[in-house]
Subunit: 394 residues, 2 copies
């Protein structure tokens, strides 16, 4: 066999995830292992729970990291709550709402899809109508940050509807947690999950996950057992909870070291400062991209500060430019998924990836490629637009 | 908040997993991230597949790492193969067979439990009888290395039965892969999974997983969709397979770096040398423990070379000694699970943990604690017994 020592090419990760890692997180990954039942490791789990509660803005006791990626968190949000026959209203305006609805069906539930065009929010009025027209609904599931379109979904109006109709409120915060407000308690969110490789700037592999007392009560009141053993939160609670610490599965120790350190960095920066940073860098990026003739897909007011999705005019060979960015500049950005394939770019400025230097580096590379391709005649125009944003007082 | 910088206590990991990491694996963990669709990362995935085929001794094209711990691999082995109403014969002689049967039931399948006392193998004749007495059976599921009892289950006779009865053969190789032979092709195993934190000496968080063409055909012929989206191998195949590389979920990149390096180390040592090393160290350990009055639970011939489970006489305060080993010596060993709680120790000599130095270090510590407790009067007796094993020619 000839599997050589691996030296990775240099990359600036500005796609839809993973984002760049802070050197402290890289270092935490190579901390020697402890056993998953070692008292010193159990203490770390407590700290991770405290830090996760802080970033989720919740006092939910059940706040943990699921031992899988964000998609495992999505699956866990359904298999624990939904029993065969249960109806769930799912907002569908991109890949992830679509996936969520399909998981409801794999679980024997009835997915009531409230659809919106890709690039638009799911209108709260449409959710209100669905709640009125359906019979009893177990939950309403909404993607706060649709990674496939860059849409930032307002949650407060839907939160009110869920309380009015006494139904559980499920939120996908994969591309927002740590980069935009996710106020679990204030918005009465009952199940919220995220992923580590986005705005938390940790490697992929864990899913921060929190359950309200209402959600826990719903789990306790199940008539059937959870169809997943691996993601059964009633069992997992015994391991993460203080006191019992019953063995369920072996925790992904190195990943939890990394998450702990990434969360410490979030806490040191502070959530308000972090949100301002993400907002400012995304505004500068959008200003620059607009000058290049690449307008954001979502309308003003519904654009994520963490992931910018821009439309590519048909005369621009989007995949060739993406390939050049990667091979010549070492810069990764994302293409479109599903119906948006070949039509959009998805540029993530998440966690450690969200810096002024990265915005200017990307715009500079794009300007050069656009001038070489003959699609831009005024050098510096995008950089200047971005700089104007940065010269504004904060 | 006061979550401080973390400096782990020193630990020698000789429990049922995780095992010690090689410095090269620790270093691989802190390799800067690549995107999960980066060509350089896809090349790494190909290499991991090649190395996994080597360690599984298989030519199965479908050989991957599941993005979850060994328990996720266990769940994947069932949810992909079993449809509601399908019968599965499960060998139950410890925690993991018990868990497997419960997963079959959560999946709507019928678990036919073939039980044996904890510490004994599941008799092939009992499987034969079950096959004769049951109606059509979708699969026979057997734990090769029962981590809760240290029993080494012979697979060849059961493999023959599965071929005779044209039923799928599922094997849990969590505590054997990389430390004892797992000959997937020679034994006609259809679904085999393992975990990274045992004999591969990689952190926990991934589950090596392989499917035969027969298993793939069974998946293709399903009447119902897989109840899990996250573990649906029909979807995951599109990401791991060369060619399509369709996005499913974000791969746990850092963990895959670590697995690749851990597998390279296995390949450099060679499987035969590795198996001899594990066998020799476990023989030396057993020789020493026997002198301390701690006999192995499984009978001769059915003892795992990777995990030794010994019975603790009732006059010995097992949990206190384990606590002293951890606090005074920094040595982790495992206690008993379920009905064996308080009655056995489980000592893992897996991967990097399986060395002569570790065996002698542990026996030395135990001798001291036994002398202090008044349960041993002849110092050196365990160490000498172990040394006699090491002085034999290989």
């Amino acid at each position: 066999m000839a599997v050589k020592n691996f030296v990775p090419p240099r990359r600036l990760l500005l796609g839809p995830g993973p984002s760049m890692l802070h050197p402290r997180v890289l270092r935490a990954l190579s901390t020697p292992l402890l056993g998953h039942l070692d008292p010193a490791f159990l203490a770390i789990m407590d700290e991770i729970q405290t830090l996760l509660r802080f970033v989720f803005q919740t006092e939910n006791r059940f706040t943990i990291a699921v031992s899988g990626t964000g998609s495992a968190g999505m699956e866990a949000s359904i298999v624990n709550i939904v029993e065969p026959g249960d109806a769930v209203i799912v907002g569908v305006n991109g890949v992830f709402g679509t996936r969520w609805a399909s998981i409801v069906e794999r679980c024997g539930g009835k997915a009531i899809r409230v659809e919106a065009p890709w690039g638009q929010i799911v209108e709260p009025d449409a959710i209100r109508q669905a709640l009125r027209q359906s019979g009893p609904v177990k939950a309403v599931a909404v993607v706060q940050a649709e990674t496939s379109t860059g849409v930032w979904q307002p949650l407060e109006p839907i939160s009110h509807l869920c309380r009015e109709h006494d139904t559980l409120f499920l939120v996908d915060a994969v591309t927002s947690l740590g980069g935009a407000p996710v106020d679990v308690d204030r918005w009465n969110i009952d199940v919220c999950y995220s992923a580590t490789q986005k705005c938390l700037s940790c490697p992929p592999g864990l899913s921060p996950f929190t359950l309200s007392d209402r959600a826990l009560a719903a789990i306790k009141a199940r008539r059937t057992s959870c169809q997943s053993w691996y993601l059964d939160m009633a069992l997992i609670a015994d391991y993460w909870a203080e006191g019992t610490r019953a063995y369920h599965h072996t925790a992904p120790i190195s990943m939890l070291y990394a998450l702990r350190e990434a969360l410490r960095l979030v806490e040191e920066e502070g959530l308000p400062a972090r949100f301002v940073r993400h907002q400012r860098n995304s505004e500068a990026l959008i200003a620059g991209l607009t000058e290049l003739g690449l307008p954001p897909l979502p309308p003003i007011g519904h654009r994520l500060p963490t992931l910018t999705c821009v439309t590519i005019p048909s005369h621009i060979p989007e995949s060739e430019i993406r390939a050049s960015l990667l091979s010549t500049y070492g810069i990764e950005i994302g293409g479109g998924l599903g119906p948006l394939k070949g039509k959009v770019w998805r540029i993530g400025l998440m966690g450690e990836s969200s810096t002024e230097a990265h915005v200017l580096t990307l715009l500079n590379a794009l300007e050069t490629l656009f001038i070489l391709g003959g699609w831009l005649s005024t050098p510096g125009i995008a950089l200047q637009a971005a700089s104007r944003v940065y010269s504004r007082r904060v």
